[in-house]
């Protein structure tokens, strides 16, 4: 029997998705022209599914510092921080991250996935109890597989449900750790963080927030949902990634907790993988400065987000509850979502296709993520394409559109 036979069902589902035309899991960009434009199969394509919230992937200064760090330190570190040493850029980024967040400690990981995996699984020991939002990202679920601690889920963004479930946990002498996210990646909705903080405090629990999609995006200074909600002092650990608003790759954790340095010798996804190359770290150091002074970029981003969100509603699409740079359109079926996604790509618009089980409540989504770099013309063009195809496919009705003008 083939070793991959256990994935027979997955094979069926994968083939089914591919049959509709393009393979959404391996779209190839022939060229990336800017943060918002690329070339797919020879066609100029608007990129509306990149998480490049502040458009920093082509930031001139970030590229310059990356190039000089590349020349100085070479292409890779060829090893892990604990076994093969840290470079000056790692130390500098950790120090800058700590001061950006006004925290005592910071720790840089090779990806955001590993930051979540490592911190959550390491903090939660055998006698502790992890309580996670039911719509948590895959990396949080994977952390749950790595930890010896029992895991319970609470209903998505529901502080009262969290309270009920915390009340049922028997104290084994350990700690309770609650995990949620700033902006949820699929629907773009935000956690009710003030209320969640209140509940965690009632039970004396620790709180971890993954600000992957909200760092650089929310808060006056870009420190995320915790800053926006005014609860930074009550969040014990902030996790995040450099792969979205910072336009590079890597992950991090910041905290004020005493003995934080122990994590660097206890956290396996930090210890047993190669560290980021200096070029990447240098670009992140520069991008972080842009994020810190990025009030204008954030204003532009949120104005683009409001514009896209309202235009999609006006067109008659069903979108997520909160206005955020993630605008997800809900389709009736995965077949419809797949065909719609193909039609958009063929017309020169790239968005993300998100299907169950990777989505909350088995939804089939066309997920857009807008950037401060998108022009109004690009967003108008995207909405026009969505509308045209939506009418063709019977997803929205033309009469409704006339009403909204």
């Amino acid at each position: 029997m083939s070793i991959l036979k256990k994935f027979e069902e997955l094979r069926g589902a994968y083939n089914h998705v591919k049959e509709a035309g393009n393979d959404p899991f391996s779209v190839c960009f022939d060229e990336i022209l800017s943060p918002t434009e690329g070339v797919v199969s020879g066609k100029k394509t608007i990129l509306l599914g990149t998480n490049n919230y502040l458009g920093l992937t082509f930031d001139k200064q970030s590229i310059e510092t990356a190039v000089s760090a590349l020349r100085e330190n070479g292409t890779g570190t060829t090893g892990s921080r604990i076994a093969n040493g840290s470079y000056g850029w790692h130390a500098r980024l950790e120090s800058n991250l700590a001061s950006f967040y006004g925290r005592d400690h910071a720790m840089v990981f090779t990806t955001g996935y590993q930051a979540n995996l490592g911190i959550i699984a390491t903090l939660a020991g055998r006698d502790d109890h992890l309580v996670i939002d039911a719509d948590s990202h895959a990396c949080i679920y994977d952390a749950c597989k790595l930890t010896p601690a029992p895991v319970t889920r609470f209903k998505h963004n529901d502080p009262n449900d969290l309270r009920t479930r915390l009340g049922r946990i028997k104290n084994n002498g350990g700690n309770i750790i609650v995990v949620t996210e700033g902006i949820f990646s699929m629907l773009g909705d935000k956690a009710p963080l003030k209320e969640i903080v209140e509940v965690t405090k009632e039970f004396g629990a620790y709180l971890i927030v993954d600000e992957a999609h909200s760092m650089g995006v929310l808060g006056k200074h870009g420190r995320g949902l915790a800053e926006e909600c005014g609860v930074e002092d009550d969040v014990d650990f902030i996790l995040g990634t450099f792969s979205k608003s910072l336009g590079a790759i890597g992950g991090f954790c910041v905290s004020n907790i005493a003995d934080f340095d122990l994590l660097k010798v206890a956290c396996r996804p930090y210890m047993f993988t190669a560290s980021l190359p200096s070029s990447v770290v240098a670009s992140v150091v520069t991008a972080l400065e842009k994020v810190e002074k990025g009030e204008l970029l954030r204003e532009k981003l949120m104005s683009n987000a409001r514009y896209l969100h309202s235009k999609m509603i006006a067109a008659g699409f069903s979108v997520g509850p909160d206005v955020s740079p993630v605008v997800a359109l809900r389709l009736q079926s995965s077949e419809m979502a797949i065909s719609f996604w193909n039609a958009l790509l063929n017309e020169g618009l790239y968005v993300n296709l998100a299907l169950p089980p990777a989505t909350p409540a088995n939804m089939s989504l066309l997920r857009c993520s807008v950037s401060s770099s998108h022009s109004k013309i690009q967003i108008d063009k995207a909405v026009a394409l969505f509308t045209k195809i939506g009418i063709e496919f019977g997803v929205i009705e033309p009469e409704l559109l006339a009403q909204f003008g």
Binding site: H129, A134, P150, T152, R168, K170
Partner: protein
Amino acid sequence: MNDEEVVAIIIKELLVIMPNASDIASETNIVRDLSLDSLAVMDLVMALEDYFDISIPLDRIADTETVFQLAGVVQSLQTEVRA
């Protein structure tokens, strides 16, 4: 509550998730026979937590396959709460 009663509740909750499923019984394999994906299983667990007012950590159901086995986990957790 005895085995049969817990099994009946689990079947009732399964039918909420999949109203068209037929012939769910004590020996039904939740994942294989009902093709419930992992998320649906976790949602079932959430519903059972609410029904029985207990916490069912996900690792406790890792090895359960049948409705009967799940009922056993629920019962032992109930006993632990009372203890």
